[in-house]
Symmetry: C2
Subunit: 265 residues, 2 copies
Amino acid sequence: MIVIAEKINASRSAVKAIIESRDTASLLELAKKQADAGANYIDVNVGTGTGTREDEMESMRWAVDALQKDLDTPLSIDSGDPAVLEAGLAMRDGRPSLINSTKGEEESLEEVMPLAGKYGFPVVALAMGEGGLPKTVEDRIGPCEKIVASSEKYGVPIENVFFDTLVLPVSTDVKQGLITLDAIRLVKEKFPGSKTVLGVSNVSYGLPGRKELNAAFLTMAIYAGLDAAIIDPTVPEMMGAVRRAEVLAGKDRHCRRYVRAFRNK
Amino acid sequence: MIVIAEKINASRSAVKAIIESRDTASLLELAKKQADAGANYIDVNVGTGTGTREDEMESMRWAVDALQKDLDTPLSIDSGDPAVLEAGLAMRDGRPSLINSTKGEEESLEEVMPLAGKYGFPVVALAMGEGGLPKTVEDRIGPCEKIVASSEKYGVPIENVFFDTLVLPVSTDVKQGLITLDAIRLVKEKFPGSKTVLGVSNVSYGLPGRKELNAAFLTMAIYAGLDAAIIDPTVPEMMGAVRRAEVLAGKDRHCRRYVRAFRNK
């Protein structure tokens, strides 16, 4: 399992403050804590929602530069704006990165997929198109086909495409958990070699006991074939769920990672 | 999810002592605790391994009689010996029961399946035959086919057949968890209307953190389509896993059972 650590996101007010004040020490601390907890990528989303595109590009450059001076963990460059993605990628100077994200829409694909081709990095692609958030498994497949066509056009190997099959709250529609999980299975079947990724926490929106619900959903998703998860690795329930699910789904040879994690916890 | 409570099992020394001393109060207390925790069936296994067949039949009659005087929760009459099963069923006087168990072997089927036909109760059937414990998904299907043929012969509706796809420890072969789960999916697909059941705790044998591993495996199994589990419902991790997995797998309309369980815990 590839763990993408979610905490450096400017939608959180503490992170917004760190970015606006260019607080390098706090940014690094947040990244290192997540790396120590087992993150394979540190996500970096600097969209505070208040500045211009230029401001966001500048924030991304600062954050990437600040992080990579002291941290070898790969970064996940996260923005809905291709210009901000490119600003971050250029600052990375070719060091291992994840591009987060594009989706099954012409405009986004035409701008983001060439970056994945040019840099040779994996790219997260949301299984949604012009129609907005998909409600069924089938609604997710059309956008995925567009994504695959675009990846072929720009020379991105299918192994570098991480489909996000999108998580909606079960509190508004109890079938949504199952739909997301079944979409993982179907995507893996229809596009052999492709990867899947989820940000799981949406599933528990509006319900009590969210940490445990998120961990249980991640457990199911790993059995369904999930390759990567966007989570907070400093929450013991989440990394515990990853290690346990890997053992149970046959992805941890001789149970070594599990036993080691258990000893160290 | 149908919860079959596992604690009244004479392989546990405390239970063996209760049975041998005919300690009605302790037996009832053990049953009531499990019923209060959410059990749909109370399993009753009186095989102490020390007496004769007659002794075991007599113990079963005593236990069933003692329990049903004060408890309305259905019982799961559990023995590998058809004579002991029948002794328990006769004492039940037609009250709701589960027959636990038969397997895909001529001799067992010829003795146990007629009981399921005669009493009209559901029956647990282990997905194993003469060859002993199965190692693959396919190894489990042959015995299931024998079981289905026998159920048809004795007029047992497929809805009353609970296939146990058998859990082996991942510590000795890391693929075994996946094999059991995939067997659940395949059995549900090949024998529409049939039910599935697991005793999950074997999966974690030889590993640390067993309670949490068992809960995670149950979570995956419920997503895979599991209908019933043989567990200890007084362990909060296990009933928590059931309630969470039901919500996430779309089996808890409007999330009501989950929210109620959360409030009461």
